[in-house]
Amino acid sequence: MDGLTPDFKFEPKHYKSDVNPIWCPGCGHYGVQAAINRAFAELQLDPAKVVVVSGIGCSSRIPAYTTCYGFHGLHGRALPLAIGLKLARPDLTVLVAGGDGDGFSIGGNHFLHACRRNVDLTYVVMDNEVYGMTKGQPSPTTGPDWDSELQPGGTGISAFRPLGVALQSGANFIARGFSGDLNGLTKLIVQGIKHPGFSFIHALSPCITFRPEEREWKNLTHSAGTGPTSEFNEASRRLAEDDGLTTGLVYVGDRRPYAPPVAPLVDTRTDLSQIVAEFRI
């Protein structure tokens, strides 16, 4: 930001843009947005050096609601776009945000490989167990019996379990927060951004329009009550017993983040004479 005085401190409001969200009043995503802004402020991140990348869906509208750089890309493709950006510009803080359909269904393959690749990103998935923007179809995290117009009587398919999949895919930072628990979610996002490598934060975020019963999450979510484990088997055990509403940091591993051998240099060493010489007969 221009004209900052030496004692200037970023506050959450400095990350909030003047664009009005399309979200319904009471949507959980407001809480996630507030937690992200608070986390940025806590870390005193310069908005010009932060990029918020998203896909498509209600929650993926979030980049324009920040004062950071943003990329509102394609449905399901936020992670690879963010990975390309971070590999090209390791100096930037890159936060990826999106929903359950975007991240686990159309973008499912990218989720597996982002966990595996371990590039230094923070991925916040706002899970409301429904496709909201298209007016209420079941998502991969929707339970099998949820009745909808497209799938009367339910899908009959058990819900996707993102934390377990993340663990098995090699993710090194796995957490769950709740949009209604601003302090808890803010803390997880701060830890996620600080964590070197890929950090996955599953943020339960009710859709009050198509899943009004999710209002009850404020009474049903509960803290794990224990700190994170760095033991894979222990994390597996905890996630096997997980009821899907347990919040907190589950697992932190120490796998090295993926970084390319050299960072790209633009407009600098353009002398290709050595390379060209190899073609000479």
């Binding site: 890309g73 990975i83 050299v262």
Partner: protein, 586 residues
Amino acid sequence: MTQFTSAADTVSVAITGSGGAGAITAGSLLLEAAGRAGWYGLMTRTVGPQIRGGEAAALVRLARRGVSGLGDRFDVLIALDWRNVERFVAEIPLGPQSVVLACEDAGDIPEKIAASGALSLTAPFTKLAEDIRGARPNIIALGTAAALVGLPEQAMVETVAATLADKGVSLEDTGQAIRAGYDIGLQLAAGHGAVAALRLAEEAGTGAGSDRWLITGNQAAGLGALRGGIRFAAMYPITPATDMLEWIAPRFGAVGGVLCQAEDEIAAINMAIGASYGGVPALTATSGPGLALKLESIGLSVAAEVPLVIFNVMRGGPSTGIPTKSEQTDLNVALYGLHGEAPHVVVAPLSVEDCIFTTQWAVHLAESLQTAAFVLSDQFLGQAKAVIDRPAETDLGTVRLKPTDPQAGAYKRYALTNSGVSPMAIPGMPGGQYTADGLEHNERGTPSSQADDHHSQLDKRNNKLEGFEYGDAWAEIEGDADAEIGLVTWGSTTAPVREAVARARAQGFKVRLVALRLLAPTRPALLAEALKGVKRLLVVEQSHSGQFLGYLKAHYDLPAPPQSLRHPGPLAIRPAEVCDVLRSWS
């Protein structure tokens, strides 16, 4: 620029064998030795899909002067064995003047090959190889090939020795193997007039002593990409594009670049878009099936105005098609495959050598115009290896327009400017924060579904491409200014058409050739000018349906109703096919 070559100046050698027999190795070494001896040449390959144990043919054309395509037929076919040869016999046309030389234990000459009327001979490649340490039949055959075409024995020995030294074969043993094969060749030439006629005539004007390169089209494109400033690349492995980035990967270390092998085609292109958004010129490489998967993302690059190069090496399609063989049939998808209205750039290299310039130009256009630029290469160009004169270096620069001092709140990423290009802030620039968006947006980048924003942004994205000055590079125009016969072609088909034009002109025809390098945006006024005075028009392409013909008819005012000469891959367009049409017109 590659010179015209008439058939008499060249000799075409096909070396075939089952996978592992070393046909491709022999072909490569023959080309390299020819290069060392001061000759020019080109080698393309035709292989089956098998990793090992399939069939393979090295198709080599040698000349004293530059050569950029295949000839009408092969002068000599050397068969290490006959296994599976029927799978590509159609790609190796032979005539009564041709010579077929098979290993003597290969069995009977296949009927289809015998039917060509070629002189059929045998040689003891396997038997000789058994008696020489480290020798293999393909190396003996290579010695014979060198003798047949008149390549100095020494150049052949040096080239092979340099390669076999890594495998522990001594110079003496290599020399003995080549000499054994060479002697067979000399004996055959002494005994058969048709064999003696294979020898390329001695003449002045070889490239000996000049600065010449041995390069494949995919390597050339890699060099063009580096020269253009590409410093990020991502891809999912796909034939026949992979070797382009396999060439770049180890060289990125030297220039400062990052290559990422993605989990799929869509991830690859989105990685490239992310890197480019971050200010690093980026490319993704693919082939037809991968291109189809990338289309939605290319639309994002156009809408969000993020510079991007899509390097597409065409192969036979649709679906998985013929992955290892060439066809010019991704033209329609490159031109029309994007949903909505998404103006973008499509360019195509016209020769192996031109892969350098055209790819570099694509980077320049993508960066200058903040849009997606396709390069349509093909398997023939990409995997052909050629001896060329050192190409001229072109400095196009990389010119992405950036704001100098963007002011937070006032900066408009998608500002409506006269040129249509608006300064693009790069993350890290204070005050330049904006959200790149595939949603339609207003000048600030805020999503908008309003009619006037949609209309003005469509105008902007179209006008920046239409108003750009593309210079002379849009096409290569050759031949007679007063010609009444015109030929229009594109891509790898340019080489045989060029050769046909040269032959026709040598016979007194007045002919003009326009080979389009810039396919989108279309330049109808320039083509009309280039074809002024033309009364008969021939359009040449390697496709079944005539995609290029349809494109020309749709977008250009042609001076005469076009006649189409076309067939699908993997059969190459031959110069004689073009000459036959021209002759029929006289």
